[in-house]
């Protein structure tokens, strides 16, 4: 469980088969802005399984500059992504990141 406001890092790993976590977010740090509840796990549903146990899905807000690098011009642009709990780990706020 991650409370709203928690900084999380998206795990940088590969799994065989269906994966709902986009590559460009792996290893990136964002902030949990919403707990959307528990859902059947699409990584299992994709193979005609019931998708259990249910997986908690968090809405995580990233700064675009944290994703694309310091060259990204607009420092206030953000991106929200829905990510399952088993892809997230607690992290420190990135040093380069402003307020």
């Amino acid at each position: 469980m991650f409370a709203k406001g928690t900084h999380v890092r998206v795990q940088d790993r590969l799994i065989p088969g269906h994966c709902r976590t986009p590559q460009y977010l792996k290893g990136k740090i964002g902030e949990v802005i919403e707990d959307t509840g528990r859902w059947r796990n699409p990584e299992l549903l994709a193979y005609h399984k019931p998708g259990l146990p249910m997986a908690r899905l968090f809405r995580v807000r990233f700064k675009q500059a944290d994703i694309w690098g310091a060259g990204y011009a607009n420092r206030i642009d953000t991106l929200d992504a829905d990510l399952y709990e088993h892809w997230l780990e607690r992290a420190e706020r990135p040093a380069a990141q402003g307020a």
């Binding site: 590969l14 994709a46 005609h48 998708g51 994703i67 990204y72």
Partner: protein, 116 residues
Amino acid sequence: MNPSHSNGSRASGGHHDLGGALLGAIDRHEHPRTLYEMRVDAMLMRLTHPSCGAFRVDALRRAIENYSRLEYEGLPYYDRWIKAVRQLLVEQGILTDSQIDERIEQIRAARDQQRG
């Protein structure tokens, strides 16, 4: 997005995982919806509706992601869908490949006869 912002991680996510890939400008031209596209769409909506439940849209995604890069990049959007629909109907034991082929042949023959 400026190309210099790519985080260069396209390679390991699979050829469907295009976020951040440097693919040039997006073609934003609309084209008229075809009957074929609407039929494929309707078929998928029906098959994945809980009242039918032939398979889930997650399985459709998985089937499409498993295409070779050549197939994935070569097939138009709804061709990717219908190819996956066929595969999943067979996977789920709802239809066999030969049943589908036979029916396609029947429809094709009837159409050709109509056209004379």
